[in-house]
Symmetry: C2
Subunit: 338 residues, 2 copies
C-alpha cells in the first residue's frame, strides 16, 4: 500500500472559492457572511476523479492524506471569525471527499488561525475534525502571510494546539499559506523558507522536551535543510544542543516533495529513511512536465523508485512512516484489515 | 591560484565593535556619534594572521575576497546617517586589511542601506570604495533585518545601485545581515531564506533584460535552490519564463558555502561549473569541526577536491569564475603578472 502524505484539494468546485471571495467582500463591507452554496456530490466526484484520483492511479499510489488547498488558507485575510468560517467550510468539504472516496482519501484539517488570535479556536476545530475522522492538521507558522509577526513555533503561544495534538495523538504538517509580502513568491520562496525557518526554530528551542510525543512533518523535503545538513549539524553544535537525530528528528519528518532526482538522492543520503514520508503535493505547486525526463515534475514516486531502496526501507517511506506519524490513519486502515 | 570569494572580517579588533555600540547608543540618546577609535596596524595584523590568514594557508587557498562582517551590517539599526558612518568605518577597516596583506585580500564593501532610504548613498559609497581598489559590494535585499519591508530586488527601487554596479563593472553578493525578527535565526534561517527568495524574485521578474551586464552572487550555495532545482525549473515554466540557464544563470552565480559533501555533490550535479565560485564564509557561520569527518565544517575546499573535477572545471570554480565575475580583481591580478 502506497500513501501520499501531502495532497491538497486544489481542484474544489468553483462555488467554494467564489463563496470565499464573497465572504471576504462581506467582511470588508461590514456585512454578515453569505450562506455557503450548494455543491452536489457529483460535482465533488468529478473534481476528484478527473484530477487527484486519475493521477494517483496513473502514478501507482493508493491513498492520499488530503487537506484543503494550502495557499487558499490565507489566515492573514479577514479576522478570527472569518478564518473560523472558512476553515469549517474547507474541512467540511474535505470530509465530503473522504465520504465519497473513503478508500483513497483521509482528511487533514485547516485551522482557523488568525494573526494575533490565540489558538483555542484552532484546538476546537482540530477536535471537531478528528471526531469526523481526520488524522492530522496543517499548522501555519506564519498566519500573517509573509510578515512573520507570530512568535516562533517554540514559543508558549503555540502550546494550546500542541497540547490538543498530543491529547488527540495527531501530527501537524508545518505549512504556510499564500504570501501578501511581494518579496515572497508563495510556492517558490515562502513555502521553502517556512520549512527552513521552522527547522531552525526547533534547533534553537527545546520544544520536544516539553512535548516528547509531538510529531511534526516539514514538507517540501524539509525546505533547504537536507542540502545544508552540515550547516545545521554545525549550528546545533555551536548552540550546545544535542545531535539533530536526538534533538529534532525524533519528532520531525520530511516529505518527498522535491521535484528532481538529484534532490531526492540527497534527501535519502543525509536523512534516515525512518524520517521520510512519501509525498507529492499533487495537484499542487508545480504542475508541468519536466522536459528533461518527459514526466511530471511532481511525480515524486518515480524518483524514489530509482533509489534502489531495500524492500524494508521502501515500505517505511511509502506507507509505514505515514502510519506511524498518523496513528489514526493506521487505526482506520487496520479496521479495514489493511 | 585559489580564490575564496566569500570571507568576512568577523575578527576585527574589539574597539571597532565597541565603537558601533557607542554609536548606536548615541543615536538613541540623540547625541552625535563618538569619534572612531585608534586601531593600530599591529592589532589588525594580529586579528588576521591568527585567523583568516592562518586558516587560508592551512586549507591551501591563496586569496580571499574580503568584506565587513555581514551579520554586523545591521541596516535596520539607526538611520541612514548611522548606516553611512558605520559602512564607511567598516569599509575603511577592510581597506587597511587589504593594504597590510595586498597579496591575500581584496575588498568588497558594505553599503549604507537603511529601511525606506533610497540607494543614492549606497551608490556613492560603492564608488568611493572602488576608487580605493574594492572589487564589489554586498547588497542586503532586506535592510529591515527580517521584516522584509523593502520591495523585491527586481523593483526599480534598486536600480540606482544596479546602474552604478554596471557603470563600475562590479558585482554584488546578495547578502542579508542579522535578523531582528525572532522567527529567523540569522545564519540558520535568514541567510538561507534570503538566498532562496532572491533567486525566486529573479525568476518572477525580468531584471536582466534591463541590466544584461549585471552580475550577482547568491551565497550559501544558492540557499535552497539547487536542492529544489526541479521546482524552480518547473515554476519558471509555469510562469512562462525562458529556461533558467537563459533567464537567470547568465547573471547569477552561487558560491560553495555548503558544509557537507552531499550538498556540494548536489550543487555540482545540477549547476553548471561556470556558475559556481569557490567560497567558504570563513571565519563565519559555522566554526566547529565535523565529528563525522574530523575537519572543519566550513573547509569547503575539501569537498570540492573530492568531486574529481576536470582540471579545467576546477580552475573555473577555484579562480576563473571569480576573475570573470569580479573583473577588477582580474585586472589587479594581471597587473601583478598573475
Amino acid at each position: 500500500m502506497i500513501i501520499d502524505c501531502h495532497g491538497h484539494y486544489t481542484t474544489a468546485p468553483g462555488q467554494h472559492d467564489l463563496w470565499r471571495k464573497s465572504q471576504l467582500t462581506a467582511f470588508r463591507e461590514g456585512r454578515p457572511s453569505p450562506g455557503y452554496p450548494a455543491i452536489s456530490d457529483d460535482e465533488i466526484r468529478e473534481s476528484i476523479e478527473q484530477n487527484q484520483l486519475r493521477l494517483l492511479r496513473e502514478r501507482g499510489a493508493d491513498m492520499t492524506i488530503f487537506s484543503p488547498r494550502a495557499s487558499a488558507m490565507a489566515h492573514h485575510e479577514g479576522d478570527e471569525r472569518v478564518s473560523g468560517e472558512w476553515a469549517r467550510a474547507c474541512n467540511d468539504l474535505i470530509a465530503r471527499v473522504v465520504g465519497l472516496f473513503p478508500e483513497t482519501f483521509i482528511g487533514v484539517c485547516q485551522l482557523p488561525q488568525s494573526p494575533g488570535a490565540g489558538l483555542t479556536a484552532s484546538a476546537a476545530e482540530l477536535e471537531r475534525c478528528v471526531q469526523m475522522g481526520f488524522v492530522g492538521c496543517n499548522l501555519n507558522p506564519d498566519p500573517s502571510g509573509g510578515r512573520w509577526t507570530a512568535p516562533p513555533l517554540t514559543d508558549r503561544y503555540w502550546y494550546p494546539i500542541f497540547e490538543k495534538m498530543v491529547e488527540l495523538d495527531v501530527p501537524a504538517m508545518v505549512h504556510v499559506s499564500s504570501s501578501c509580502n511581494p518579496n515572497f513568491h508563495a510556492t517558490g520562496a515562502h513555502y521553502i523558507n517556512a520549512d527552513t525557518t521552522a527547522f531552525m526554530q526547533f534547533i534553537q528551542g527545546d520544544l520536544f522536551a516539553d512535548f516528547p510525543g509531538l510529531r511534526l512533518v516539514i514538507p517540501h523535503g524539509g525546505g533547504a535543510v537536507p542540502y545544508h545538513w552540515g550547516r545545521y549539524r554545525g549550528l546545533a553544535d555551536m548552540l550546545h544542543k544535542p545531535p539533530l537525530d536526538e534533538h529534532v528528528m525524533r519528532n520531525v519528518s520530511f516529505d518527498t516533495c522535491v521535484y528532481h532526482q538529484p534532490g531526492i538522492d540527497l534527501l535519502f543520503e543525509v536523512i534516515d529513511t525512518g524520517s521520510i514520508l512519501f509525498g507529492s503535493e499533487m495537484v499542487g505547486a508545480v504542475r508541468g512536465i519536466d522536459p528533461q525526463t518527459g514526466h511530471y515534475f511532481d511525480d515524486t514516486k518515480r524518483y524514489i523508485d530509482k533509489l534502489g531502496l531495500s524492500e524494508a526501507d521502501a515500505a517505511k517511506v511509502l506507507s509505514g512512516n505515514a502510519r506511524r506519524v498518523y496513528p489514526r490513519l493506521d487505526q482506520a486502515l487496520r479496521a479495514r484489515g489493511l
